[in-house]
Symmetry: C2
Subunit: 153 residues, 2 copies
Amino acid sequence: MRFGRRGFCKAWQGQIKDAGYRLTIPRQVILDVLANNTGHLSAEDIYLKVHKIYPQIGLTTIYRTLDLLVSVGVVLKSDFGDGRARFEIKIKDKTHHHHLICTKCSRVIDYTDFIDKELKLLAETKKGLSEKFDFEITGHLIQFYGVCKDCRS
Amino acid sequence: MRFGRRGFCKAWQGQIKDAGYRLTIPRQVILDVLANNTGHLSAEDIYLKVHKIYPQIGLTTIYRTLDLLVSVGVVLKSDFGDGRARFEIKIKDKTHHHHLICTKCSRVIDYTDFIDKELKLLAETKKGLSEKFDFEITGHLIQFYGVCKDCRS
DNA sequence: CTGGAAATGAAAATCATTTTCAATAAGGGG
DNA sequence: CCCCTTATTGAAAATGATTTTCATTTCCAG
Ligand SMILES: [Mn+2]
Ligand SMILES: [Mn+2]
Ligand SMILES: [Zn+2]
Ligand SMILES: [Zn+2]
């Protein structure tokens, strides 16, 4: 079992232990797979990759571990509207980003640009909405849909 | 069969025929139910309501008709993250709006306020993203999550 | 009115995710 | 280092929203 991003893995493993969970082989392997794949993977994508390293893994464990990692704050879960959840590990510095989704080929682009302006609007909107509807806003979802370069040629 | 919002119904029925579809009883009843319920209904919600008026309806027809209405542009389909799609009819003037979703009770609030500022940011962001990633943006999704007044008391 | 295409409804199929439950493994105390 | 308790795992079955299939019914143009 090779661990890329070893430093990060250590930190993530710490988060798991700190939350009171055991550090099992399946969890380490799943974390490792997530750490070495930048994309937005489905549970099955992850299952297939983990399976190569640790063939006795069960899909159930993938789902359970992903839930755990999301709850601990190590993993981000997204829904791009294709009926399956997508997961990506939260890497230091590249934390808050939004998604640009190609409706033709399902390619997903992360972007952090324009986040400054967005943040400003978000702050204003949040304030306005909170006051107007007496609603305590805890999160937001912003996604753009369109057609990527390749799918237009 | 009573039709509220009769004027609108006529217009919507026109859209269906214009798109080359037949104007059947199930479609009229579903349209009627949507027109008289402002909320964000699931397919089953709609099925139950339609069933009272037209008991022979099948859930399959609900799904098929909703697809059709969405494709024709008469109905808006949303996903609030609870595993079932929600539908609402597009009423003149209150067209473009976003959603505020209570994570405790699932209440959904429509809002059009701040849309102006949002639109401005959206325009800028769209332009920036289009240029930077050579991506043709066709749509966006913006939702706020939080806890409503009632769920905090 | 009528024929043929479009639409419908019941039942079965899909498919991602969850639940159940018996077997296994982690890791703190001895 | 070894146990013991309890968390975790994996296989299989269950779930639940949505889709597909297919035989029957309905719409509506001619
Ligand atoms: Mn991402
Ligand atoms: Mn709405
Ligand atoms: Zn594409
Ligand atoms: Zn609430």
